[in-house]
């Protein structure tokens, strides 16, 4: 059951999106998320939609995979929508007892719903098309300027990649410990929430002990292999921008500029969204 946990849900495929430099994808995701909060009208919405589906099509990742990420935040989205509908002042459409639904509220709810959906889809597209190693490499490289203010960028990236390597091991170990405790009569499934939480203690204690032991061993092994931090380190797979990366940046900025232009020039605040 613990095996179901997936982290860094990479979807292997050969596409132009997969082959892009991770930095392009990180910057692109950031720009896309910002652009989602720029549009206030149908034109912007259409542009953002077209761009997203164009990328999904290019990436060869099935849409169902990308939609999977939505499950986790569905409740959050519904609550956000309800709040928007109920608490936005404006032209009233329905007024029952103390509940007042306004036209502006519905509009804001629909936009917020779309924004959150696209936000999750956009970020999922990035994690689905980039291996965790490349992702941490990309972050390390993008954050490199922060080293000037003594932010431990290399160390954080190293920690992330080690964590990614050890998660499956620790998951396996948890499974083993649980089975060992179950074999001796431990019960993890019955009782109320508190009882169940309490029964996790005999799993967590040995798990922590073993994690610390592993960490000690690993530190020793890294030292034995001359690890001395990021300084003077070379890379087997350094990040190098290719031709497609330049093109991708161009496409990204054109899209972003278009979104800004749409916001400035096509800003017709009273155009109803779904026809009237």
């Amino acid at each position: 059951m613990l095996k179901d946990i997936t982290l860094g849900q990479f979807y292997p495929a050969e596409s132009k999106i997969h082959a892009l430099d991770p930095r392009v994808k990180l910057v692109g995701t950031l720009l896309y998320v910002v652009s989602l909060f720029l549009f206030h009208n149908l034109a912007g919405f259409l542009l953002a939609t077209a761009f997203l589906f164009f990328l999904i099509h290019m990436s060869k990742v099935p849409v169902s995979y990308i939609l999977r990420g939505l499950k986790a935040i569905f409740i959050l989205m519904v609550i956000t929508a309800i709040f928007n509908v109920l608490f936005t002042p404006g032209t009233t459409i329905v007024h029952v007892w103390k509940i007042r639904i306004t036209w502006e509220g519905v509009r804001a709810a629909v936009f917020m719903f779309i924004r959150l959906t696209y936000l999750v889809m956009g970020t999922s597209l990035m994690t689905l098309t980039t291996t965790p190693t490349r992702l941490t490499d990309g972050m390390e490289s993008l954050m490199a300027p922060l080293e000037k203010i003594h932010a431990p960028v290399h160390e954080v990236a190293m920690m992330m990649s080690i964590a990614l390597r050890f998660i499956p091991l620790l998951v396996d170990e948890t499974d083993k410990i649980m089975k060992a405790q179950m074999a001796r009569g431990a019960d993890f499934e019955s009782g109320n929430f508190w009882r169940r939480a309490k029964s996790m203690v005999p799993i967590l204690v040995p798990l922590f002990v073993s994690a610390f032991r592993r960490a000690g061993d690993l530190a020793l092994a890294m030292e034995a292999r001359c690890y001395q931090g990021g300084e003077g380190r070379t890379k087997m797979k350094p990040l190098v921008y290719g031709r497609n990366d330049g093109k991708a940046y161009a496409v990204l900025w054109i899209y972003f500029a278009a979104m800004i232009l749409v916001r400035i020039f096509l800003n017709l605040p009273h155009v109803p969204l779904l026809g009237h």
Binding site: I162, A224, C226, Y227
Partner: protein, 283 residues
Amino acid sequence: MGIIKTNHVSYDYVRVNDEGVEEEKERALEDVSIDVYPGSFVAILGANGSGKSTLARHLNALLAPSEGTVWVDGMDTSKEENVFPVRREAGMVFQNPDNQIIAGIVEEDVAFGPENIGVPTKDIWKRVEEALEKTGMAAYRMHSPNRLSGGQKQRVAIAGTLAMHPKCIILDEPTAMLDPGGRREVIETVAELNEKEGVTVVLITHYMEEVVYADHVFVMQDGKLAMEGPPREIFSKVEELQKYKLGVPQITLLAHELRKSGLDIPEGILSEEELAEAICRLR
């Protein structure tokens, strides 16, 4: 002088309390002097708690001796500036295969050492390829270490040290957590490296069977050097070895028992073939 030399080395594990005052002292090594010649295959044998792992950690500057000196390729390991050069010369493979693999892909793990010592990217690729080739793991270069067997993981770890182009490799009980198949796989890889590539090997183990490949054996007991000599000589002293809680290989034991019961069989038999030959010669 050999590539690794220890001169009257002693080491104390010191327990310090919160105020930094010494509370307890435990002597783990006592007056150990060994000499390892370039290109040789040396085994260090000992039961649990005999100090063999502590000795191993001295050989690539993970520990510095409390008394005495350790030289690796002429460098004194207790000098701060020698620490990294020493680790480059003397690669180390540890016991637990899972806790020494750092990256999520085999080839990236092998590259970890060369990356740390600043080898240019192009050379890293060459070294990784070579190291994987030599350990027979080339077919697995894109695999995740989590899916490999214990023996394969240890071979990746060996490749990881090889890629740093060390003069010698120290293996600290590399087979203790493996099944018999994995153990053979690892030891054969190591023996081949020693033979074909001339890499000096220091193998620390408590399995007597693995010692047959060695040119020279040190036996440790309670932090001290108890016996020393070529494997055949060591194995001929069955009773003494048993005193050090070391079991001799079954075939050696059988030969020893036969000899004790009056048959004219030489001491220090190491393989089935040898014993068969000795028995045939009896008639």
